[in-house]
Symmetry: D2
């Protein structure tokens, strides 16, 4: 049996918009026909995925009648059941229609803000009907080019009003649903508000019902700004705020590439899987593993499914490599927690006596400084585990 | 009288390490002699600065005896008084000595963490003695290259322990002092913990005495990652957390340049000054304006003071330009708040009735989308004000 | 009379695809209706532009019949004449149709390479018919994501074969036409071949008829990689290879923004205009000044023309500022050429005697090193001229 | 026997300044004692390196007397012989002394330019005496912050004069020596002249003796700008200009990191080794493989040698992986050259008949566009070979 084949226990998911991406880009037309959502569900199921996620308009076209909407949803639910697939996450498309050209919740136009709220309420209902437990907000166009157009503080206030409003809506409806906010530094706007997972985590701490709001970090988004995705995810995990995750790949300082997971920066991908899986001893992440990426534009439909299978396979290979790495005795010795019975108690839990004791310490800075830490060896072991020779 | 000459009311400050920088870099030796701190104070005073900031070891050498320390401090205080200069901010050097080669508060070695705490307590005493009201923490080497060396969550816990400990120390000593944490994405480490102002703001929200801790954002640090510094500062201001600010200039995606304020990205500098000064109608920042930058290595000592004067002068020119911009009737009309008596009440403060009303709204998305926002005109006006032709 | 109003002598041009851009992006639908080419010509003429540039399919739709093509071209030429507008540059669209999904001249498929050659020959005929003197090649999709797909040397050979072939075609037809090659580092491909103006200049030096091939550098493309656009243009000018130029603006390390000229990095824009106009004493550039940019997606059609007028206006303001800067006596003194009658002859034109003389020189390195160069002052003067206070 | 142990046939070299780096950085003091050159030679030899490279002042201190110089050189040569080590490359330190604070060959000061020429002539003699066959020029500080300080074209002319002069010197001395020029985009200057390998290749094409001048590309330098190092090296190889290479690792958009080869961007490292070794069928590179990197600052001396061994080991693992990849039948099938007997002759070597034939072709663009290229599969195979599971 293939140890790297996906299983439902892996909780792998794809978005309708990912494997369904027809390959249009700023410089060219679609290269693949648009697939029907139910076709996507069937194919993803065959590939071994556990679930499928969606924007409202991935399934129900913008402006569809209630009758059309109900027909589409019924067919989709039947297909999900038939395939044993779930919809763990849903979200709202607040960026494709030109009404959102200057943002949705942060727009200067109250009509646009009202339209965004209305659309989101309806889309939350749809998501919940499909079984979603997590609702993602990616601030598609919440940002600026001509930054004088609004005080950025006003944008924050408007976003907070919207999030607080929608949290209450969810509570009022007694939905079993949490929110996961997704940061992005730029594109399609020159500067987006809440550009990183850090900014988003802080914003969440200012919400009225912050306990029901976490983050949905995306590899590519943090990487676009050249930031450590692993550190961002760790900060969210440490705060109990990693509610969802978007896996893909990206080169630093480029357009939003949404490449196949693991296809760039293998070391970071390895460290990420190690963190999520808890192989190093920390608490693991137990939510869905969502691949928010799409196949190269060079691919036909078969290439899309090769891309999907490759995404899951690379994750599982890295998971195996991470487990081997953390079981390696040399690695364990190198990163073993250093204990100091005298000093450890002084390092937290202030008391005046501890301050006094700290002040009285006579530490030989130069001697301590001379000790090598062997992180070159540790990193070489990381690389050799990745390369499969350790 | 020169309208752009600095006055004490401008609250301009420089660090001892900035104008005192001898111009050493990774590829070359110092180009300027090291100035004595008291010389720097005298020269800054002549240039029109209001205050001077310092790391402990900018003034008192590492390992100085108590007697030597007291002599230095007394001389320094006398010079400050003589020149009418203040020390509004102080900080600890937790990065130059090799003991900090793998971080200070987040080091895996309890001896290093203890040494960092000890050094900081002593440095806080020094800062308070000199009159500092703000104590800055820049996590000099808190980061990694070989990221497997510690769980990043452990680094966060250690940093939190240290900050909580030091907050209690300040309270215990009844010092009139707040903390301002400074983020940086990389350099001198490949990836630093808390890489942006956003990550730092979130971290602060998890501290036991978060009310006494704010941020010290630096233009160059946010720009290194290509993030909007204006948005980061605005997020801090909106949260009441802008306790201090470091002004300089930097090109995106480069080594830490610490260039003269305003010498790169004039539009962002303009928008920043406009935000800090409150010319657009928002609440202004009232703290010190600290130039954390240094003169090019091509300069002799005279060039350093030209650099210092230029920093302040550019700020004041931009301040004047910002006031003109926001007084311009066309600008005012373009960015005037749009009110909608029917919709505005629906946009915050959830009630079931509001949700019902939102659901019932019949907004013509296409018609709204067709309206041009004239942000090209607004941005052109921004540029023309900057260029002094508007 | 407005000193910053455009005149034909300014040689300002726009592409049909720039002001005609309907605002579609990777995340959203068009926000503006598509304008007819003849409408664009009329409007550009009213705005004060001198000429208009085009891709073959900007004017003649892909797959149009010969009859349709001739009708369109005749109407277009009549409109040009009517408006007194010229077409100084033309180019081929080798990126929109899915056949070019993996490149055109560098594709692994000989059918695609043949199709690209065929399309270009036809498009060159069209350009020449419209009066174009410069033919631009931007390698739209000549690049890779999965870099193992071809030896990059093979891509270079294929591109050289194509360029050599097309040069001969132009000669064979006795067209009065030169080629200008345009580099871009990435987008829409992860890595493009010939990513910078430097790589392109080198490639040109390997062509059979290199004398008829130069470059068409674009602000945004060089800036995406964080490189100095001014230095790149200077290297092209020094080599006699600046055949055309694309003016716009871009933040470093982002998606291809194509912002209004001068709206980002004003200092670089100033230095660029100064170089192109020859205000600093060097030879000026005399070709068309082409704005390859588009209005924000927030704009309606009026906003597009405001954007066009702003582009030209900012150029002319910067031109005036540059002239003032270089006439400033302090600036002139700071950058005056240093002459040394004894040393200057030793610095070029090797002879054994010069080597001997150099060897015998006794230069006091430390004394020379101590002299300040006053570049901080020079840069402050640059900024103050930009801000209009010098 | 360890298949990944270095041998002399691997031609691995290190610089004295790399393993000898004491770990000073902009924010901190050295962490390791300075090793004597002869100690470095002995240790490198033990580690399995083939050669050692040097700047003049790595071996002979700045300002050393002739006697001291001769003593040092004699001892060094004896140690080389004793260890069986060679010096294949040498270079000049034109950046550490403050006299070079504004560049060397491009300085505005004729005394500085003369001093740089003088120092280089002397250093070339030293290099040749030690057996060097390649002389590297890295333009340490040839760049600007205040870009108005000189016309960039003047910088190019000065650099050309210097290179032409030095080429003639080498010829005049009948040295068996070629030049290899090394580009870098920034650091320690804000913008360096000739920022990429592409710009450098073009510059070389303008030299009087261009046949004796090639490039020395460095992984980190091209990566700092986010450019494909593989493409840059390929362009140099295709032009017969890859005279030397600097191997290390670097994250995009950061300070010059000089990390251990293979420790970042494993996919690019793999593609590079594949290109250099010619496993994909192209002509291989046969020159020295120089590791221009240094150990983390966290390391003591033992860590430095672990770093050196890791550098070579990773190269050899990647070399093995590359050979396996290119022997894989599925890979071979995916990237096999597509031939088309009818079309291939039309694609190069222009004749009027070929143009006519091209024009007459009836290619079905849509049908061709529908074919999938399977680059997702190819890239997944690349990743799986890297991970050792293919």
């Amino acid at each position: 049996m293939d140890p790297f084949a996906p299983t439902p226990e892996d909780r792998f998911t794809f978005g309708l918009w990912t494997v369904g991406n027809p390959g249009r880009d700023p410089f060219g037309e679609p290269v693949r026909p648009v697939l029907k959502p139910v076709e996507i569900v069937r194919k993803l199921s065959e590939c071994g995925a556990w679930g499928v996620n969606l924007h409202d308009n991935d399934l129900v076209p913008f402006g569809a009648s209630a009758v059309e909407r109900d027909r589409i949803v019924a067919e989709f639910k039947a297909t999900l059941e038939d395939c044993g697939m779930v919809v763990p996450m849903a979200t709202t498309n607040l960026f494709s229609h030109p009404i959102f050209k200057d943002g949705a919740f942060t727009s200067n136009d109250p009509r646009v803000r009202a339209f965004a709220l209305q659309k989101t309420i309806v889309a939350i209902d749809l998501g919940v009907e499909l079984g979603a437990k997590t609702y993602v907000f990616w601030g598609g166009r919440e940002g600026t080019e001509a930054d004088a157009c609004r005080d950025p503080r006003t944008a924050i206030v408007r976003m907070r009003d919207a999030m607080n409003f929608l949290c209450e809506y969810v509570k009022d409806q007694r939905y079993d649903l949490v929110f996961a906010l997704e940061a992005k530094p730029n594109e399609p706007r020159s500067d987006m508000y809440f550009p990183t997972t850090g900014h988003m985590l802080h914003f969440i701490s200012t919400l009225a019902r912050s306990e029901m709001v976490g983050v949905n970090p995306e590899v590519a988004h943090e990487n676009m700004a050249g930031l450590s995705f692993v550190h961002a995810v760790a900060q969210a995990m440490e705060a109990g705020k990693l509610f969802h995750i978007d896996l893909n790949a990206q080169k630093i300082g480029r357009y939003d590439q949404d490449l196949r997971f693991g296809s760039e920066d293998l070391k970071q991908a390895f460290l990420l899987v190690r963190l999520l899986e808890g192989t190093a001893g920390g608490a693991p992440y137990r939510g869905p593993l969502h691949f928010d990426s799409h196949a190269y534009r060079t691919e036909d439909q078969d290439g899309v499914w090769e891309f999907a299978r490759g995404s899951m396979r690379t994750y599982k290979i890295l998971k195996a490599r991470a487990a081997e790495f953390d079981a390696n005795p040399e690695v364990r010795a190198l990163i073993a927690e250093r204990r100091d019975a005298k000093l450890d108690p002084l390092l937290s839990g202030y008391t005046p006596d501890k301050a006094k004791a700290l002040r009285a310490l006579n530490l030989d800075a130069s001697a301590i400084a001379r000790e090598g830490l062997r992180w070159e060896r540790l990193d070489q072991l990381t690389i050799e585990h990745l390369l499969g020779v350790a």
